[in-house]
């Protein structure tokens, strides 16, 4: 049976997928059909972050209510396995974020529109989050 933090990890995955999906559905078609300075992306980015936060909070509350008995029984929220999963997941997420930041830096150095750097950082951060979540999930399952 998954522990509370594993369920929180699932909440973060749902939030990230919904936020990133919504953002890409809204912005990518505009990039294809409109000139770059007419693409609306700033409000969409803020709304995507709100979607992520609201989903994370709502699903975490749901998981906390569902796991209440389990938390009372264990008397602890996280254990050594949680620490290991957290550390490994965040380390891999950090590597992905580094790659995204380096690409964004090169786009700025070569003077491409800041739209591309901002979107590389945003999509990169979301993908880094998903990488972190996937590595945590695999660590919980004992696959790595």
């Amino acid at each position: 049976m998954p522990g509370f933090l594993e369920k929180m990890n699932r909440s973060a995955a749902i939030g990230t997928i919904l936020a990133l999906g919504w953002y890409l559905i809204r912005v990518v078609p505009q990039v294809v059909t409109h000139p770059l300075d007419e693409v609306s992306w700033k409000a969409e980015m803020v709304i995507a972050v709100v979607i992520f936060v609201v989903t994370l909070i709502a699903d975490s509350i749901r998981a906390a209510i569902a796991s209440q008995g389990q938390l009372d029984e264990a008397d602890v929220v996280d254990d050594e396995r949680d620490h290991a999963a957290e550390r490994r997941g965040d380390a891999w997420g950090g590597h992905a974020m580094h790659a995204a930041a380096f690409i964004a830096l090169m786009l700025l150095v070569f003077e491409l529109d800041p739209f591309w750097a901002a979107n590389t950082l945003f999509v990169g951060a979301m993908l880094a989050g998903l990488t972190s979540i996937l590595v945590k999930f695999l660590t919980y399952r004992g696959s790595i």
């Binding site: 380390a91 950090g94 930041a101 945003f122």
Partner: protein
């Protein structure tokens, strides 16, 4: 002191030294606005590329020197402690980079000049490397 610990100290000193020089020598451009945004971008781009190249070359030379000084240590594979220290460093470095990435995205959203956004991303990459190095140093000295 293990090879991995020495390698970490070498990278910390190199990154800290090279980028302390970079930010000190470009501070008047970045903060003072003494030149036009186009000139600032050209100036910081050149220095940025030079510092990246300098860090890569210096780190190769430093690692060769460390390996020559103690060849048996250099051949040792990373053990469980090295991996834990590494992961904790990557984890904390990733958090720092994410904060700077957020600031860079906000700068792009508010249409700040290219060179400011690029230098925010670079500052994030450098700060995350320094935090990672210091975390690893503490991890090696005090345990994880």
């Amino acid at each position: 002191m293990s090879f991995h610990e020495k390698s970490n100290i070498a990278m910390l000193v190199l990154t800290g030294g090279v980028y302390a020089w970079y930010f000190a020598s470009t501070a008047n451009v970045l903060l003072g606005g003494s030149v036009s945004p186009e000139e600032a971008l050209e100036l910081t781009n050149t220095k940025m590329l030079v510092t990246v190249g300098a860090v890569i070359i210096a780190s190769i030379v430093a690692h060769i020197a460390l390996a020559i000084a103690s060849p048996s240590e250099a051949e040792e594979a990373a053990d469980e402690r090295d991996r834990l220290v590494e992961m904790r460093g990557d984890q904390r470095g990733g958090f720092v980079l994410a904060l700077f990435a957020l600031a860079a995205m906000a700068s792009a959203m508010t249409a700040q000049p290219y060179y400011l956004i690029a230098n925010l991303v670079l500052a994030g990459l450098v700060a995350s490397e320094l935090v990672k190095g210091v975390t690893k140093l503490i991890g090696y000295r005090r345990g994880v």
